[in-house]
Symmetry: C3
Subunit: 139 residues, 3 copies
Amino acid sequence: MKSYRKELWFNVPTRREFINITPQVEECLRESGIQEGLCLVNAMHITASVYINDNEQGLLADYEDWLEHLAPHEPVSHYRHNRTGEDNADAHLKRQIMGREVVVAVSEGRLDFGTWERIFYGEFDGRRRKRVLVKIIGE
Amino acid sequence: MKSYRKELWFNVPTRREFINITPQVEECLRESGIQEGLCLVNAMHITASVYINDNEQGLLADYEDWLEHLAPHEPVSHYRHNRTGEDNADAHLKRQIMGREVVVAVSEGRLDFGTWERIFYGEFDGRRRKRVLVKIIGE
Amino acid sequence: MKSYRKELWFNVPTRREFINITPQVEECLRESGIQEGLCLVNAMHITASVYINDNEQGLLADYEDWLEHLAPHEPVSHYRHNRTGEDNADAHLKRQIMGREVVVAVSEGRLDFGTWERIFYGEFDGRRRKRVLVKIIGE
C-alpha cells in the first residue's frame, strides 16, 4: 500500500469564500502515483469546509445567502461561543452544514468523478492562513 | 490490496425520492470478495445524496417536508443558480444537508452496520438517468 | 494491509449530549499499530452523530440551541415517524445536520489533525446503550 500526504494552504482576504480546489487535488494525485484507492480531502480548521458541488457562480451566491439564513453571523452576541472573545460561532455552524471532508474514489489514476463534481474549499472565517489536508492511500 | 468499482444507475420518475440501496451495495461487496476494508458509496451527481438512516416510511416523509422547509423549491426565481435556465437550485442545497457520500467499514466480508443502518439514495432532481459509485478497497 | 476494529459504547443519561471521544480514538490507533492509513469513526445508531469540531462549552450549547431550532423535538406529533410510537424523529433529522461519520488521515502513527480538531459523539436520543465503530486500515 502506498500513502501520500500534502497540505494545501489558503489565505482568503474576506471572511467567506468558496474556492474550487479540484486542480490542486488532481496535481496531488499525479504526484502520488496512486492508481487505485481512496483520496481524503479535509479542512484542518473547524470554521471551514471541504465539499463537492457545482462550480457555478450563481449557486455559490445561493450557498452564501442560504448559509447566512440558517446560521446568521449577527448578532454575534447571540452565540455563547462568542463570549470567549471570538466572533466566529456562525462559522462553526455553517461548516457543519457543508461538511468537513470528502472521500473520493481513485480509479485508473484519476479522481473518479461524475461530470459536474468539483471539490471546493468553503471558508467561513478567513483573513488568516488556513490549510486543507490531502491524504491518498492505495496502490 | 484489492479494489472494486461499480456504478449503480437510477431513473426516478418524480423529482424527489428516497431509495434503499443497501441490497445493491451488499451485492457489490460479495462480488468484490473483499473481507476487510472500506466501502465508499457516493452520488456522482450534485443534486442527489447518499446517506445512512432508517428505512421507515414516516421518516422518509418527514425528511421530504423538512428539506422542503429548509431549502424550498419555490419560488424558483429566488435562486441565482436558476437564472442559468435550471430550476434545481434547491436540489443542490438539499443535497448538502443529506450529504454526498458514506464510508462504511467492511469486516469479515460484511457491511459493518448497526441494527437499523440502511444506505439510501436521495434523489432531489430526478426524471433522468443518474448514478451512484461504489468503490471498495481492502483485502 | 492491516485492519483494526473496535466498538466504543456510551450510555448517556439525558436525551442529548456531546462527548469528546478523541482520547478513545487515539487509544484505538495506538492499539492498531497502524502508521499510515485512514481511520473511520461512525455512529452505529441512526439518532446519533460523529463529527469533528471545537471542544468549547459555549459552542456545544450553541449547537444544542441551533439544532433544536432547525429540527425541534416538539410537538412530537408533528412528525410522521413518531406515529410508530417513537418520539425521536427530530433526532433522525439532527443527526443528518451533524453527520454520521468522520474519516481521519493516519500519518506517522497519529491522527493527522489541525490544532483544534476534536472528534465528538453527538447523542440526540440517549438514555440507552449505544455504540460507535472505529475502523482503521493501513500499514
